[in-house]
């Protein structure tokens, strides 16, 4: 299917992935694992006071990072946003490292230097966000430029929310990448809120995808709660990018099934939206598809959930044993050691 602009209907999941039970199984496991890890973080560890500071989860929108993440090759650089835990899992980061990160322990990716989703690993080519929304977009554009510079076939994936598209950095970054025709895949999770701010207070256009033409790049809208649809759209985008045709914008329509962060009940969200979107839950949905197509039996699904719970229990135990950083580390690594 050719890249299309935003006025086309939601892309259906009818494509080769729809005939790939193995892919669906992998997707399901990551969806379930992400959900479980974040439920524990937000609803257990945070409430138990074992995690201090901000907690942002991707409940209800896991299909976006999982669907897109399964397309990325290991050498493709990823720039997650603060609700894309699935990307870390797909890149091989262990749940125990994630719990340790949230608890500020040395077992976390940042050794306690930073918290929650502010983590990354350059060896795994997954880049830590800074808090400033959309700041990663120009940075990702630079990484995409490097692919072109080196003449390799890598692509760069950058993820952001609807709210981030209001920022100057979003514009400058996407404009630079478009002018340079670099392999940048832009994936927007449009979960209809930026913190408490609804879309109509953020943008006057109907869709984030409507912004693609202003950069002369293709953009398309996809059902962000359909992991296979996200996978297919991302494949189109990645192919476009690797062919040297430049950036490609995907808008994933979804909903944030939680407050902005653990301290926010989201009382400003009208009740009907919670109900409406609960029915579109990406995990339930994929499971239904897999059962309907007889790709799995219910037992297998239950077994996935059970094994994930066991893995997560162990990971939390490990993380709680992980030591806090020693205060003597405070000034390490502000600069490259030798150069000080």
């Amino acid at each position: 299917m050719a890249a299309v602009n935003s006025l086309t209907p939601l892309a259906p999941a009818e494509a080769d992935s729809a005939a790939d039970p193995a892919l669906a199984r992998r997707a399901l496991r990551y969806l379930v694992l992400m959900r479980e890890v974040e439920d524990r973080i937000e609803r257990k560890l945070y409430r138990q006071g074992k995690i201090l500071g901000g907690v942002y989860v991707g409940r209800g929108q896991e299909a976006i990072c999982v669907g897109a993440g399964l397309v990325a090759e290991p050498d493709d650089m990823l720039f997650p946003c603060h609700r894309d835990l699935g990307l870390f899992l797909i890149r091989g980061v262990q749940p125990r490292q994630i719990f340790a990160q949230y608890m500020g322990r040395t077992g976390g990716l940042t050794r306690g230097r930073d918290g929650n989703m502010h983590m990354g690993d350059l060896n795994l080519k997954i880049i830590a966000i800074i808090s400033a929304m959309a700041a990663s977009v120009p940075v990702a554009a630079g990484a995409a430029f490097a692919c072109k510079y080196k003449g390799n076939k890598e692509a760069v994936f950058v993820f952001f929310g609807d709210g981030a598209t209001s920022r100057g950095d979003w514009h400058e970054g996407i404009n630079l990448a478009s002018v340079q025709k670099t392999p940048l895949v832009l994936i927007c999770n449009n979960n209809q809120y930026a913190y408490s701010t609804p879309l109509d207070k953020q943008m006057a256009c109907a869709n984030v995808a409507d912004r693609g033409p202003g950069y002369g790049i293709p953009s398309e809208i996809v059902d962000g709660n359909d992991v296979l649809a996200v996978y297919e759209a991302t494949r189109r985008a990645a192919a476009h990018a690797r062919e040297g045709l430049g950036p490609y914008l995907i808008e994933c329509k979804t909903f944030r099934m939680t407050g902005h962060s653990a301290h926010d009940a989201g009382s400003y969200v009208p009740d009907h939206m919670w109900k409406e979107w609960a029915e579109k839950d990406p995990i339930q949905r994929l499971q239904r598809v897999m059962l309907d197509r007889e790709w799995v039996a219910q037992e297998e699904i239950d077994e996935i959930h059970a094994s994930v719970r066991i893995e997560v229990d162990a990971a939390i135990e490990w993380a709680e044993q992980s030591p806090y950083p020693d205060p003597s580390e405070l000034l390490d690594n502000v600069y490259e050691p030798e150069s000080r």
Partner: protein, 323 residues
């Protein structure tokens, strides 16, 4: 009944909005949500969407729009959700707002409110103290209150001031400190420091959260017969040099404390002015107690080690007292 630092600022905002229909608020999530720290809770109902304006995530546009509205006679109060994000609107502050009056005689009566400071496990991007950048920018006024009384009186003065004011609110103080405020209306003058505590041996020149750390330190040191005089600057630009120098002339020793990291911080400027202007009065080196030169770490033991506190002030003061 006593008022918290946060409530005091809210009271100030409400009083000024009641007084002057040209005063309005803009920022992210300040409307129905009442702001990330609930500073503006209830204000949407009270003043309506026109005067409590939720904006897209665009700090440069928030500050720029405040400037433009002020050209048209309004008196905007912009909220930057965390002072860490003020760098996203930096050019509008340092190049646009700060220079209009000087260049072409156009006043820019805006207030930019920015919750700053650590101690809430916010990590590198929800804990910074960026005041020094703005203190190095002529044309701005920079305020950092330490008490509920001053917070209310200064936010009111800031709104009435005809120059651009950057107003740093220490987020760890929001709910931690409270006091009884006068029932009647009052303001606190911009550019005047406050003698927080009188003392004889060492002048502690400080502001924001460190005022309270200094007071704690003073209590401890009293027992040892070391008496600290605490100057709460309240305004960082313009600096109240007279009050600083008068105190040092009296005590002949100076300790400067701030939560921001040391190198290039406001403490350097203060130390320089003391050494340049009352050198003959000094009986010892001018010393600084600040955070070290690194980002604000997240993990509790690291943040604990990072933040200056009473104990670190006590230690330095003891050392200085021996001179």
């Amino acid at each position: 009944m006593s008022t918290t630092y946060l409530e005091a600022i809210r009271e100030g905002l409400i009083e000024e909005m009641d007084r002057d229909p040209n005063v309005f608020l803009l920022g992210e999530d300040i409307g129905i949500y009442g702001g990330a720290f609930k500073m503006t809770a209830g204000m949407l109902d009270r003043f309506g969407e026109q005067r409590v304006v939720d904006t897209p995530i665009s700090e440069s546009a928030i500050i720029g729009a405040a400037i433009g509205a002020s050209f048209a006679g309004l008196r905007p109060v912009a909220e930057i959700q965390f002072s860490d994000f003020i760098s996203c609107g930096f050019d509008q502050i340092v190049n646009y707002a700060a220079k209009c009056r000087y260049r072409w005689n156009a006043p820019v009566p805006i207030v930019v409110r920015a919750p700053s400071g650590g101690g809430i496990h916010g990590g590198p991007y929800h804990s910074q103290n960026p005041e020094a950048w703005f203190v190095h920018t002529p044309g701005l006024k920079v305020i950092a209150p330490a008490t509920a009384y001053d917070a209310k009186g200064l936010i009111k003065s800031a709104i009435r001031d005809n120059d651009p004011v950057i107003f740093f609110e220490h987020k760890a103080l929001y709910r931690r400190i409270k006091e009884d405020l006068p029932t009647g209306e009052y303001t606190v003058p911009i550019g005047k420091a406050r003698l927080h505590r009188e003392g004889r041996h060492i002048s502690v020149i400080t502001y924001g959260s460190m005022v309270h750390a200094a007071a704690e330190a003073a209590d401890q040191l009293n027992a040892e017969g070391i008496s600290l005089e605490i100057i709460d600057l309240r305004t960082l630009l313009p600096l109240d040099e007279d009050t600083i120098l008068a105190s040092v002339r009296k005590t002949s020793k100076a300790l400067i404390a701030h939560e921001a990291c040391m190198t290039g911080g406001v403490g350097g400027e203060i130390a320089a002015r003391i050494t340049e202007k009352v050198f003959e009065y000094l009986d010892g080196p001018v010393v600084r107690v600040t955070a070290p030169d690194c980002p604000v770490p997240y993990s509790p033991p690291l943040e604990e080690a990072f933040l200056p506190n009473a104990a670190k002030i006590v230690e330095k003061a003891r050392w200085l007292a021996k001179f």
